[in-house]
């Protein structure tokens, strides 16, 4: 199993990616890691649907990364090796599964404008976005509840669930996501003292 990626490594990779001219927002555990030591083993970035080609192009010219994996829909990965650090898995995600009744790029713009934080040149999604994304993944969302719990243990407030429902509401999937939030909260009760 790969080693956890440190905050500094995430920043290094994000800065490198920015330098290649790729537009992205850091999501997943790597966005959580910005403020909470949740422990993540890869770096996930959200991109615009139309940027797949430019991302692949930018990576193909960099000696520091392996070529982007063949097209697998909304998720494609690479491995990055920056000076002195082990290869890091970097996953690119486009927003089709998360945009509900709006366009994928509207989701990215929404995160960019309202639900992220810019550090230097790089944007990091808020924890609510990360949880919303996790709870949106059909067929796998229940598995991500354990990661949400990990984030809570690391200090992410449980009230973040409220913001998750707000995001879902904006994209017309509030009923579905509220149900999943309820399930996650019910699961968390198994970890609390009565």
């Amino acid at each position: 199993m790969s080693q956890p990626v440190s905050r500094d490594q995430i920043k290094k990779v994000a800065d490198w990616l920015h330098g290649l001219g790729v537009r992205f927002i850091v999501v997943g555990g790597s966005a959580i890691e910005l403020h909470y030591g949740a422990g993540t083993r890869d770096i996930d970035v959200l991109i615009l649907v139309g940027d797949w080609r430019s991302v692949a192009e930018a990576l193909s010219h960099s000696p520091l990364a392996t070529p982007l994996e063949p097209d697998e829909g909304q998720l494609r990965g690479t491995q990055v090796r920056l000076g002195g650090i082990e290869p890091i898995d970097l996953e690119f995600i486009s927003a089709e599964p998360f945009s509900g009744n709006r366009s994928p790029d509207e989701f990215v713009e929404y995160v960019r404008n309202y639900r992220s934080e810019k550090i230097g040149d790089v944007r990091y999604a808020d924890p609510a976005v990360v949880w919303y994304i996790r709870l949106s993944i059909e067929g796998l969302w229940d598995q991500y509840v354990s990661k949400i719990r990990r984030d809570i243990v690391a200090g992410v407030p449980e009230a973040t669930f409220d913001a998750v429902v707000e995001i879902a509401d904006r994209f017309g999937v509030a009923d579905k996501i509220r149900e999943r939030v309820n399930f996650a909260q019910k699961t968390l009760l198994y970890f609390k003292d009565s």
Binding site: G77, E91, Q143, V145, S146
Partner: protein, 152 residues
């Protein structure tokens, strides 16, 4: 008392009836992706009065059915799949309270099964009863069937 479906179990639990429905989605959400038919964990004190199509797991402790913790889920899973029970504890090690785990295993008289899958690695004071899976074999299980990790 009839517990016909998930909703019946949910509302009975909410109303303070000492039972809870253990579903695979909960175990999956605790970091052990798996599928099994729902199991009704019922306090032995009321078990004769409960009719249900769900398979039942009897708990001596009423308190554990009213406010189950992750350790209680593991103890219930011992009847279903002991190795998964141990994997569940391993993946939620940060939340496991050794004293409570010890108490729960002893209360439910599960020392033999708990020893088989080395619960004592997490609760030192647990008595060793019978044989145990070698630690290295168990360690291999910890690395299997991990929660999906590719998408955040």
């Amino acid at each position: 008392m009839h517990i016909r479906d998930e909703d019946d179990a949910e509302s009975a639990h909410r109303d303070g009836v000492p039972l809870f429905l253990l579903e695979s989605s909960t175990v999956t959400a605790m970091g052990c992706p798996m599928r099994f038919p729902p199991q009704l964990v019922v306090a032995r004190s009321i078990q004769p009065a409960v009719e249900s199509p769900f398979r039942q797991i009897g708990f001596i402790s009423e308190a554990a059915t009213l406010n189950p913790r992750v350790e209680d889920v593991a103890v219930a899973l011992l009847d279903l799949d002991p190795v998964i029970a141990r994997v569940l504890l391993e993946r939620n090690k940060d939340a496991v309270r050794p004293d409570y785990l010890l108490k729960r295993v002893l209360t439910e008289n599960k020392e033999r099964l708990a020893s088989w899958v080395r619960f004592f690695d997490l609760a030192d004071s647990l008595p060793r009863v019978g044989k145990s899976i070698p630690a290295e074999n168990l360690a291999r299980e910890f690395g299997k069937n991990l929660p999906a990790g590719t998408i955040p």
